[in-house]
Every structure is written in structure tokens, then in C-alpha cells.
Amino acid sequence: MKYIIAIIQPDRLDDVLDRLTSKEVHLVTVTNVMGRGRQKGIAEVYRSHKEAGSLLKKIKLEIAINEAFVKPAVDAIQAGARTGSVGDGKIFILDLMDVVRIRTGETGSTAIG
């Protein structure tokens, strides 16, 4: 079992979700996050005062997943999120020790989906 964390551009979310759905990956948690990398932000201007904020708006996806789905899910995220410019984000893949489904008490890979 793996735990996938992906940081992507906010405007790529719909595309990424569509591609995950097409790979039958349905369970995903989405959060608005702020972060920074090497990308320079779009400077906002308020009464001529430039706000080149050092933190940028991003979207974080979290997916707990069985081994067989890891490759398709990562491919789907990358295909959906990639624009080719700096700031497209990152995908982190972590080992997942266990999962408990709260409703039934099932554990492990049966509980994951």
C-alpha cells in the first residue's frame, strides 16, 4: 500500500480528477494549500502596490492506494497536472503501514478502497 501526496497547480485540478476517474481511482482528498518552490508567482497589484507574495496557491491531493494502482494513478496525476513550466508541482509516494475503515473495522488493503 502506498500513500500518494501530490502538489499541483490549482487550475489543473479538474483535469487530474478526470484522469484519475478514468483509471478507476475514486478516493481522493483535496485541500487548498499555500507553498513555494522555484516558481515566481503572478504579482498582484493593489492601488499600484505590487504584492509579489512569496507563497503561492496550490492544491494538495492525497490518495491511499493499493500497489496495483500506484503506477496508473501517478501517470494520471502527471499527465493531468503537467503544463511544462516551472511550478507544475510534485508527487510524493510514501509507504503506507495500515488502513482502518471506521465503519466496519476492516484493515489493510481491503479497507483501502
Partner: protein
């Protein structure tokens, strides 16, 4: 220790107000000899205008509230609402009497109208001769309420609430009431009723220059916010600011067209030029943004519109529609320069540009009245420079300078004294946490639910 002292102080102040209120007897109708008739149309329009101007204070609250960070929204809304309550009481108890009561040497009214004694339901022989005297009093109350509200823009996000209350009560009494008397009251030294003849139709000097200079004093005495200018987050809710600005525009029809004190031609003229100047200035700001920032901005356009409304205020009953376009374009350019280039150069932190828009826009408006005023619009007014009377321009400039100096000096002293006695500014840690939580134990937005 300081906190305890402040609390006692405020409690005493509150008690004083209540005792004052209960000991004063409501007056019967005024006795003056000439019998003036109440005109129902005039009275209806003035009462509607009064309600429209009342709406401008919460509108200002949302205009300012949208521009601050989310941790300070309630503090701004609360300050505006407190003024609505505080100044309303001050006004009927003694404020109206100081501003419009029987004259003392052209400088201030005496206290014989305190508690609205002799301010009745028949017309006064000078102030709104076709409406009940109390209708005029109530209309003026709304002006007294919003004027200290404008100053909030300069000290937003860092002034302690208790100090704000004490400052506002003292400022309205020592600065607003006298200046209103000078300009609008019978025999006031600056105005047209026996004074030097400065034209101020709806409050360019009394409201906007007055508040704008106090705002500058506030920015200088309080100093910059923690992290200014690099680390200050952008406006947390621009749609609030847009809604506030739109409601201000709406309310301003009451402010300016209501200042004719009747449903008549001058009111319609004020209505037309108010709308025109706001439009011209909003458009000008957008074009300036296009030129200097490559894109027009929402905040820029509403700032321009408000600046246009400020500038047309003293002129609304004296200029025609072409004058309004001139005033609107002028204020768009001047305020844009003041907010964009001058403020950045001088480096003071006027958080929401109360001085940059209301002070500078008000000064331009008062002077521009001396350029474009014409008796063709209002025979009771005067001709300006462009209609062959340069003397009026000089009168306007003198009135502007007197108001600027008086308001700045007294406001500066008030801020300094209050700072010494009870502390003006929130502690650095409190400022980081946000005034909503620190001063009111509330937050504007919850994280969950």
C-alpha cells in the same frame, strides 16, 4: 494596570453621558416669531436623504473592512458601528448645539440647544426653512457620524479600541463641531452666512479635508503596521470593498443632493454632477492603471469613484455637468499620483488611503469649486475663476488652508495626549494576532462550519 485605568475612564465617560441625557429636558417646539411653513416634499426628500447618508457609515465599514486582513475585519466594522451609536448620542446631547447653536464670535455654537432644547418640529429661520428643524438636525447628525469614520482608514489594524472611542468622542467635539460651525452655521467665520464666503455645498472642507488631515496625523503618530510595506497581505475580501463602494455611491446622492435641504432644482443638479464626477473619476483611475500597471484593477476603479464623490461634494450645488467632468478627471489623476507615487516616496502607512483619497481629493474638490462654480447653476452661490471671479478661488484656498492646519494640529495633539495617557497602539503581539480577537474576543470567519 493600564487596562484597569482605561476601563474606569470609559465607565466614567459612559456614566457622564447617561446622567447628561437624563438631566436634560426635551424641548418644546421653538418659539421664533416668523411663521415658516413645513413643505412636505422637501421634508420627505430630506428624511430619505438622511437615511441614505446613515447607510454610508456601514457602507464605509464594508469598503474598509474588505481591504484589511481577515483577522481585523470585525475591528473595522465595530469602529464604524460604534461611531453610529456614540456620535448619535453626542450630537443630540451637545454636538448639534456646538456646531449650529447660537453663535459665539463665529467660532462655535453655545450650549443653549443642548439636549435639543429649542430645536423643534417647526422650521428654523435659516437652517432648512421649509423642513422641521429636527429634520435638519438629524441630516447633519449623519455627517457628524461618518466623518470620524473616514479617519479609520489611516489607523486601521493597529489602534486600540478603547483609545479609538476616546479619540472619536474628543475629535468630534473639538474638531468636527467647530469646523462645521465655521463653514455652515449662521455667522460662522468661513462660510457664506456672514463669514468670508467659502463655498462648501456638502462637506468638502468640513467632512473630507477635516477627516483627511486627521488621518495624516494618525498615520504619523501611530507609525507603520508591523511588516509594512512588504509583509502586509493584500485585501482579504475585495468583493466586500466593491459592495461598500457601491453603497457609498448610492448614499452619496443623499449626502449631496440632500444638502440642498429641499426637493428642488439645486438638488437635481447635485444629483447629476455627483453621478457624473464619480463616473469620470472611476474611469480616469482605470485608464491610469491601464497606462502605468498595464491592467485596470477593480480596487483602482472603486477608489477612483470614491475619490470622484469626495471631490464633487463641496461643488455639487454650484457647478454644472462639464465642471463635474473636469473635477472628476482632475481628482482621478491627482489621487492616483498621491496614492501611487507620493505615498510610496514618503513612506507613511495610511493603511487604506484615508488621507490619500479623502484629504487630497477633498482639497482638490474645494479648490476646484473655486474654478468651476457658476451663478448660472445657483444664484445663491458665487462665480469661480473660470467664470471671471478669481477672488473666489483665493477664498476657497484660504478656507482649505485654515481647515487643514486646524484639523491637523488639534488631531495631532489629541493623538499624542491619548497616547501618553492610555496608549494608542496595540502591542506588537496583539497586532500580529489581530484586533478582532484581541479587542473583541470574536472572529469574523470560522475555520470549520
Amino acid at each position: 494596570m493600564k487596562r484597569g485605568y482605561v476601563k474606569k475612564w470609559v465607565a466614567m465617560l459612559g456614566m457622564g453621558l447617561v446622567i447628561g441625557a437624563t438631566s436634560m429636558v426635551m424641548a418644546a417646539d421653538s418659539p421664533p416669531a416668523p411663521k415658516l411653513e413645513v413643505n412636505s416634499g422637501d421634508t420627505a426628500w430630506l428624511m430619505i436623504s438622511t437615511a441614505m447618508v446613515m447607510l454610508m457609515t456601514p457602507a464605509l465599514a464594508f469598503f474598509y473592512g474588505g481591504l484589511v486582513r481577515r483577522k481585523n475585519i470585525l475591528s473595522v466594522l465595530m469602529q464604524c458601528f460604534m461611531l453610529l451609536c456614540l456620535v448619535s448620542i453626542q450630537w443630540v446631547l451637545f454636538g448639534y448645539s456646538l456646531a449650529f447653536g447660537p453663535d459665539i464670535k463665529g467660532l462655535i455654537g453655545n450650549l443653549s440647544w443642548a439636549g435639543l432644547k429649542d430645536v423643534g418640529l417647526t422650521p428654523h429661520n435659516i437652517y432648512g426653512t421649509t423642513v422641521p428643524h429636527q429634520a435638519f438636525m438629524m441630516f447633519q447628525a449623519m455627517f457628524a457620524i461618518i466623518t470620524p469614520g473616514l479617519i479609520i482608514g489611516a489607523f486601521a489594524e493597529r489602534m486600540r479600541f478603547t483609545s479609538f472611542c476616546v479619540f472619536s468622542l474628543l475629535w468630534i467635539t473639538l474638531v468636527y463641531d467647530p469646523v462645521a460651525h465655521w463653514v455652515w452655521a449662521d455667522k460662522g467665520i468661513l462660510g457664506t452666512l456672514g463669514g468670508m464666503g467659502a463655498l462648501d455645498f456638502a462637506g468638502g472642507t468640513v467632512v473630507h479635508i477635516n477627516a483627511g488631515m486627521a488621518a495624516l496625523a494618525a498615520a504619523l503618530v501611530l507609525g507603520k503596521r508591523v511588516g509594512f510595506p512588504e509583509k502586509i497581505s493584500p485585501p482579504h475580501n475585495l468583493p466586500f470593498a466593491v459592495l461598500g463602494a457601491a453603497m457609498l455611491w448610492f448614499g452619496w446622492f443623499g449626502f449631496n443632493a440632500g444638502s440642498s435641504l429641499g426637493a428642488n432644482g439645486i438638488a437635481v443638479n447635485a444629483f447629476v454632477v455627483t453621478n457624473t464626477a464619480a463616473a469620470a473619476a472611476g474611469l480616469t483611475w482605470a485608464i491610469m492603471d491601464w497606462i502605468f500597471q498595464s491592467r485596470p484593477t477593480m480596487l483602482g476603479m472603486i477608489t477612483g469613484a470614491v475619490a470622484g464623490l469626495v471631490a464633487i461634494t463641496p461643488a455639487a450645488g454650484f457647478v454644472n455637468v462639464m465642471g463635474a467632468i473636469g473635477i472628476g478627471i482632475g481628482v482621478g489623476v491627482i489621487c492616483y499620483i498621491s496614492v501611487t507615487f507620493v505615498k510610496a516616496k514618503l513612506g507613511y502607512d495610511d493603511s487604506l488611503d484615508a488621507f490619500g483619497v479623502h484629504g487630497v481629493g477633498g482639497i482638490w474638490g474645494a479648490i476646484a469649486t473655486g474654478l468651476w462654480a457658476t451663478k448660472a447653476v445657483n444664484p445663491a452661490g458665487a462665480d469661480g475663476l473660470l467664470y471671471g471671479n478669481p477672488a473666489q478661488l483665493w477664498i476657497q484656498i484660504k478656507a482649505v488652508l485654515i481647515t487643514m492646519v486646524y484639523s491637523f494640529v488639534v488631531s495631532y495633539i489629541l493623538f499624542k495626549v491619548i497616547d501618553k495617557i492610555m496608549g494608542l497602539r496595540a502591542a506588537e503581539q496583539e497586532e500580529r494576532i489581530g484586533l478582532d480577537l484581541v479587542d473583541h474576543r470574536e472572529t469574523g470567519y470560522t475555520m470549520l462550519d
